[in-house]
Amino acid sequence: MERADDKPETVPAVRWGAGLQASLFAKGRAGRRALRLPPWDGAPVDTALPAAARRAAPCDLPALSEPEVMRHYTQLSTLNHNIERGMYPLGSCTMKFNPRLNEEVAALPGFAALHPEQDDADAQGLLEALARLQDALCRLTGFPACSLHPAAGAHGEFLGMQVIRAFHLARGERDRDQILIPDSAHGTNPASVTMVGMRPATLASRPNGRIDLEALRRAVGPRTAGIMITNPNTLGLFETEIGAIARVVHEAGGRLYMDGANFNAILGKARPADMGFDVVHINLHKTFSTPHGGGGPGAGPICVSAELAPFLPGPVITRREGQWRLEAPATPCTPSVHSYFGNVGVCLRALAYILSNGGDGLTRVAERAVLNANYVLACLKDILPVPHAEGCLHEFVASAAAWKEQHGIRALDLAKRLLDFGVHAPTVYFPLIVDEALMIEPTESEPKESLDAFVAAIRQIHREARTDPELLHNAPHTTPVRRLDEARAARQPDLAHLGPCNCG
C-alpha cells in the first residue's frame, strides 16, 4: 500500500510503438529459463569430454523466460513494415502478397521433417513435387531442363555462369571468358561473372534504355563467352531487339543468359527460350510469391537449353519403373553449389502458387502487374517524369531530378517521406543510368484503392516540396526511429553486443 510520505516515481506515458527496441542482451536475469529439454531416461553415462576438447569459457547468453522471449520478438516485429501492413512498391524486388496456404503446405511434416539422406523410396511425394515444379518452370520458360539447386537469384546467376563456362571448356574454348553486361544491370551480374573466373565487360545502353545493337556487334568476338540480359530490364522495358541480339551473340559463339528477376512481367506472354536465350534464372521469391523473410530464404532455379543440360549439377530427379529417383552426378566435372538440393521448402511454396494460379492465373499475374505499374505511371508522370516510359511493363523508373533542381528535394527525401504515409519506399538510386532514380513496382496484388492512395501521397509530398521542404529533409517523422547516422555505423562498426549478460 502506498504511504502518504512516499514520492511515487513518475512514469511518463509513451506513444504507441515507442521504446520497443530494448536490447535482448540487457533483459536476462540469472536463473531464468524458457525451454527444458527431455531428460535422458537411460542408464547413466560416465564418459566425459577430455579437458583439451572442452570450451574454457561458458557461452554467456541472456537467461529469459518464454513469456519474455515472446514479448521481445513480438514487440520487435511491430517495428517492421511488411506486405500485410501496407504497400511495398520496392522496385525489382516484387513484393507481392504471400499466400498463407503456401506456408501451411510447406510445413506439412511429410515435407518439413524429411532428411536429405533418406532413401528415394521415403521421399516419393517430395520428388514428385519437385519434378512437377521443374516441369512447370520448363513450360513457363520454354526450356527442356531445370535445376532447383540455387538458393537465391545471385546463386542462380553463379550457377548459370558456371554452366556457360563449363560448356565452352568442354568444347576446348578456354579463351572464351568475357561476358557482356548492359550498364543498367544489377550489381550481382558482374560479381557473379567474376566469381566463376570470367571477365565482365560493360555495354552502354541506348538513350531509350535498351541494348545498343551496333555497340553489341562491335563488342562481340572470339573471347565472347556470352551476355547477361535482364529482360524486361531494370527500367521495366522489354528488349525489343532480343531476336537480333541473340543472333549476333550466337553467331559470335557466345550464349545468352537471362536474369529472370523480372520474369513476373512476361509470364504467359513470352518465353526466354523463344527469345533466343540459353539459360534463365528465376527468383521464386519474386515471381512465385514465396515470402522474402526479411532477407531470405529465396530460391533461384535455372532452366537451360538441351545443349547446356549436361552441365547442370547433380543429383537430378528422374523417373524409372514408376519410381522417382535422385540420380548421382553424371560426370566428375558436374558442379555442386549447395550442400543438398537447394531451398526445397521454398520450391514447395512456389509449386503451391503455380497450382493455385494455373496457366490462366499466371498469365493474369503478369497482366495485372503491368496494368498496375502503367496506371501508377499515368497518374504520376506529370509531377514525376519517367525518362524511359514507352513500353514500361511491371515497373518503371521515375526521376526526381527536377524536384532536386527546383526544391532541393532528392529521391531519398521523397522516399523517406513516403514512410510517414504507411507505404514502403521505392528502390532509390538504381539503376545508375537514371538521375535521382525511384524504381516503382506496385505488383499485381495491390487493389486500385491502394494505388490511388499511393498516388495521392506522392502528390501531397510534391506540394510539400514547394511549401515545406524542411519537412521532407527531416522525414520520416512518424516511424519508430528517424534517419540514422550511417556514417557513424560504418566508421566505428558495432556489429555485436559483447558485454556481459544477466547482470541486472
Binding site: R32, L37, M70, E103, A154, G268, K448
Partner: protein, 448 residues
Amino acid sequence: MPYTPHTAADVAAMLARIGAPSVDALFASIPAEVRLPGPLDLPPGRTEEEVRREMKRLAAANRSQEELVSFLGGGVYDCVIPAAINAIAGRSEFLTAYTPYQAEVSQGTLQVIHEWQTFVCRLTGLPVANASMYDGATALTEAARMGAAQRRRPKVAVPTALNPRYRRVMATTLAGEDIALAEIPRRADGTTDPAALRALTAAGDVGAVVIQNPNYLGLVEPVDELAAAAGGACVIACVNPVSLSLLKAPAEYGAQIAVGEAQPLGVPCSFGGPLLGLLACADEFKRLLPGRVVGRTQDVDGRDAYVLTLQTREQHIRREKATSNICTNQGLMALRATVYLALLGPEGLVELGEANRVRCEALRDALRRVRGATLPFPGPVFNEFVLRLPRPAREFRVFARERGLLAGIPLAGFAGCGEGDLLVAVTEKRTAADLEAYARALRDFLGA
C-alpha cells in the same frame, strides 16, 4: 483469380486513365516473333482446398522423420523445434518483409540480425559475424576465399575427413578463382594429422587451413595441434554450433574465421533446405566478409538504432570487385536460430549439448557390446560416430528401415572408409527406447 483484386470496372477505369485500349496493348513492346502464340501449357488454376488436398497427398507419400526414428546426420539433424519459434517466424512482420533497406521501418528485422550476429560471436568467440549464408557449404567456401585473399596465397588445405558435400561445393566455386585445394590426410584414429598439415604448410603457399570440428566422422579433432601447424595460414573452423555449448570455441584455438551449419538451431530438415550458414571472423577480415552486415548506430534524435553497414564490400556498389555476389541470404532461418538461442539461455544451451553427447555415448556403448559390430574410431565425439559392420552398411540400412529406423549414412569410399562403415547420429530427440530399438535391430541383423 485468387491473389489479384481487380474487378472488371477497376480494369476499365485504369485502362482509361492510362489511355490504352486493352490490357494486351500494354504488352505491345514484346515483338510478335517472340510472343507466346497461345495459352500456357499448364492446367487451369485450382481452389485453395484442391491445392491443399494435392499437396497433402504428396506429403503423405513421404515417410519422414516424424514417422521414422532418425539416426541420420552428416550436417543436418532431427532436432527439437520449440513452438515459440514457429509462432514468431510465422508473423507477417518478419515473414513478408524484405531486406531492411529502409532502416526506419525495419528495426525489427535489423535488431534480430544484430542479435544473430551477437549470438554467432558469442558461440565462436570471434568479434564479427554476418547476417547469414545459404548453408554450411557455401559459408565454408566463402571463408576459404576470404582466407586465401587476405593471406594472398593460392592454396586452401582441407582435411580428408571434411564433409564431402562441402568439399564438392568448394571445388566448384574455387576453381573459378584459381584457388587449389590440398588435402590433409587423417590418422588411423580418424582425426586429422597435424604433422601432415605442418608438412603441407611449410612451403608457405597455403592461405587457409580448414578444421572441421567435429569432423565428418563425428570425431573431436586435435584443434590446438592443428591450429599450431597452420604455419601462418588463416585458420577456418567449420563447426556445428550446438557442439559449441561444450566444445572449444574457434577463437580459443586461434581460428580467425568460423563457419558452420546452424540448421540444428530450430530449422526444420526440409530435405536439406532452406538451411542456415553462419560466418564469423576476426577483425582483420571484416572488410572481406561476404553478404549483409548490421551495425548499431543512432538516429538523429540520439536513439539507438540498427542499420545495414559496411556496404561498400557488396556487389550493388563494388560490382565485379565485390567480396561476393550474395545478397538474399537466409534471414528467416537466422530469426529462427536467434529465437531458439534466446529460449535456451546459458543453461539450456549446455543442457542441449549434453543431451546430444550423453545419448550419443549411450548408443556407442550399447553398440560396442553387439558381437560383430566394432567402433573403429574410439576418440571423443559429440553427437555422431562411425559404426563398422562385417557386412555392407547399406544392407543394415534397409534392414533397420523395415523396423522404422533410419540407421545412418553409409560411408563407403569416403576418407578410407569401407562398405561396412555407417555414420550414426544421435540428437536430443532420441529416447532410451529408440536406442534400445537400434541395438536390437543391429543384433538381429548380425544374428548376434
